[in-house]
């Protein structure tokens, strides 16, 4: 039986959503300062207005919803999904004020793409935006990768029991340490150390490639944030093509592969368990699927004679494939090259890689390697059971941080999520096809949005139909939060309406 919704439920949800909103408002001070440093006064004012508005909304929410209760599982899920929506809308204000978004829907599309680390965009005249707005775009994707709730947990919320539930709602279900605040701090510590290293490494490479020194470290920070969070944004419309540098691409690829790994794996390695890299089921799964899909890409590109030599094929083909597989979306070819040159097989192989995606509890999207590993091992265990004597007890295992028993419920849980992903991949593709796009293109773009990859074959443009924009936004949101919290939010809204009706009837 579904319980009724009371005023206290709204208070809890409002209070924690308010805290997350305050976190977003404070975050807007970073691009504001960036604009001030570059003497972009109009842009700085846009961020000041946006920060004031966001903080105002946040403080109104915490003021009217003040409560001493801690969130339960339902609240946590609703807070996680709802916070992302509120953050998306308010974060779109600087985009709109900049004059580079054609509509507020387009602005929201870009912020949803940023927070969910997708990387497709509708922003106009990207090559002429302010440094402040560029910082904001990349900051969104960096914070979105770690989870905006994780950010709020670190700085605003204490170590309540409910806090971990909110994190789970945001797709960060690895309990690395007993204290939830410690987990959030740990995630941020790992990410910030990598940010420092990545900015310096990529900044030095940028200088060596001829980027102006005073901008090189900003380029370094932007590309790192985009890579580490498997986001896919870049400061210019050409994405990685802007740099004309294989070294830059390789360095970025290292960071996005690292970013696509499970935080639990990073933690295990950081705490001395280096053998985990070789044994972890996700790494094994990732290696196998990368090799398989890259073989398909090679076959497609060689069949069509796209690249003149192995070096060109590897530099373009491998970068694009791994960028897709880690759900990053950085690109060193033009979007339409997929359609015009790579052809259906090349696109299909990339689509499969994007659909599988990165590791669980990472910054990436897609089914996740862990689920792929669990399902494949589940099938193997079932086959072993069929081949064994009836009395034999056959149990499957998989290694993820420790050896785990492969129970039916674990396999079922993984399979359910995979089925849901396939469902939104297909629904998005059908909507695209209904608007007249070819099947391969529509499926490619839909999978790219749902798996939070951000590679585009040219469909995503400001001129595309409004319904497709909304569809892709839903896909990005659901794909990032892995369905459960989004479904809970829908369920909560329905239950609230029903409770109101019941109260009215009783009155």
């Amino acid at each position: 039986m579904i319980r009724r919704v009371w005023r206290e439920d709204f208070r809890i949800i409002g209070y924690y959503t308010g805290l997350v909103t305050i976190g977003v408002g404070l975050l807007m001070l970073v691009p504001m300062v960036t604009s001030l440093v570059f003497r972009e006064w109009a842009s700085a004012l846009d961020f000041a207005i946006s920060a004031a508005l966001t903080l105002l909304v946040g403080y109104v929410l915490v003021l009217i919803s003040r409560t001493k209760s801690t969130p339960g599982l339902t609240h946590a899920m609703v807070i996680a999904a709802g916070s992302w929506l509120v953050a998306m809308v308010l974060s779109g204000v600087p985009y709109m004020l900049s004059g580079h978004s054609e509509s507020f829907l387009d602005a929201c599309f870009d912020t949803m793409s940023g927070y969910t680390t997708t990387g497709i965009f509708l922003l106009q005249d990207l090559d002429h935006i302010s440094q402040g707005l560029n910082m904001w775009r990349h900051l969104l994707t960096y914070v979105g990768g770690q989870g905006i709730v994780v950010l709020a947990l670190t700085f605003l919320i204490g170590s309540t029991g409910g806090a971990f539930k909110i994190m789970v709602g945001e797709g960060k279900e690895e309990k690395l340490e007993p204290n939830v605040r410690h987990i959030a701090v740990l995630i941020w510590r790992i990410s910030l150390i990598y940010l420092g290293v990545g900015t310096v490494v990529l900044g030095v490479i940028a200088i060596a490639n001829g980027i102006k020194p005073y901008l090189a470290f900003f380029h370094g920070a932007y590309i790192f944030m985009s890579a580490w969070s498997t986001g896919g944004f870049a400061p210019y419309s050409q994405n990685m093509l802007y740099y004309h540098s294989s070294v830059m691409e390789i360095a970025s690829m290292v960071f996005f592969i690292l970013g696509s790994f499970n935080f639990a794996l990073h933690y295990a390695v950081w705490t001395g368990n280096r053998k985990e890299i070789l044994r972890n089921v996700e790494i094994v799964s990732f290696t196998i699927t990368v090799l398989t899909t890259f073989s398909l890409v090679c076959l497609a590109l060689m069949q069509r004679g796209v690249y003149p030599n192995a070096v060109a094929l590897f530099r373009r083909g491998f970068f694009q494939l791994v960028s897709g597989h880690t759900t990053t979306g950085q690109s060193n070819i033009y979007a339409r090259t997929f359609v015009r040159e790579w052809g259906p097989l090349g696109m299909l192989a990339t689509t499969i890689a994007m659909a599988i995606g990165a590791s669980a509890a990472s910054t990436g999207g897609g089914f996740k390697g862990l689920r792929m590993g669990i399902i494949v091992r589940g099938i193997a265990t079932d086959i072993r059971k069929l081949l064994s004597p009836e009395r034999a007890v056959v149990t499957g295992h998989y290694h993820h941080i420790r050896d785990n028993v492969l129970s039916d419920s674990v396999v079922k849980g993984a399979a359910v999520i995979v089925v849901l992903y396939v469902l939104i991949y297909v629904v998005g593709a059908i909507v695209g096809m209904a608007y007249g796009y070819p099947m391969a293109d529509a499926l490619f773009e839909s999978v790219s949005a749902s798996s939070n990859t951000g590679l585009s074959c040219g469909i995503t443009q400001a001129s595309m139909p409004t319904l497709m924009k909304i569809m892709y936004m839903l896909e990005m949101w659901m794909g990032r939060l892995e369905f459960l919290s989004v479904f809970t939010l829908f369920g909560f809204i329905a239950t609230s309406v029903r409770s109101m009706r019941l109260r009215k009837a009783a009155a």
């Binding site: 003497r39 105002l56 033009y334 040159e341």
Partner: protein, 172 residues
């Protein structure tokens, strides 16, 4: 008969001299990034003309200079200017507060450049500055200042209401 031939020849010459000739005749038609990428096989290895604003960074490498030209359609093309091609002085490159020089380049389009490991680019054979760059005005609108003051005032009020009784806050 001879007179007729002379008259016809004179008329033909007159037509050739007087007839209106399009200004661009003799020049290559301008290409955009979209046209080149969409028709990459058609344009591969051909000489093209490309006009665009020079984006932020001129990247000098040992065998030439890379520049990225924005064609104004939210797309840009990488242009490689080899060392033996005369490079004009680029006075301004694109910035939030600057419109970069608009240059016209003529060069060979490569669908996948062998020299640059498969990159889609143009190797310039000539570069001309068409329009020098200029400073861009990004004025501060008074109505936005008013909005900021109003929002900041409201924020101050709500924060005061929230923090005046800290004892009523949540338990963490």
């Amino acid at each position: 008969m001879n007179r007729l031939c002379v008259v016809l020849t004179v008329m033909a010459l007159a037509v050739l001299i007087v007839a209106p000739v399009p200004a661009s005749a003799g020049q290559l038609p301008l290409s955009t990034t979209t046209e080149l990428v969409e028709g990459s096989y058609k344009w591969d290895g051909k000489t093209v003309s490309f006009k665009g604003e020079v984006l932020q960074d001129l990247m000098v490498r040992k065998d030439g200079t890379w520049m990225n030209l924005s064609d104004g359609n939210n797309t840009a093309m990488g242009v490689f200017v080899p060392k033996d091609v005369a490079m004009p002085v680029i006075s301004r490159t694109e910035d939030y507060r600057t419109v970069g020089d608009v240059v016209l380049i003529t060069g060979v389009f490569h669908r996948v450049c062998v020299q640059h490991e498969g990159e889609t680019d143009i190797h310039a054979v000539s570069v001309t500055v068409l329009t020098p760059g200029s400073t861009k005005a990004n004025p501060i609108h008074l109505d936005r200042v008013v909005w900021f003051v109003v929002l900041a005032g409201l924020l101050g009020l709500v924060m005061w209401l929230y923090y005046r009784k800290p004892g009523r806050g949540t338990e963490h």
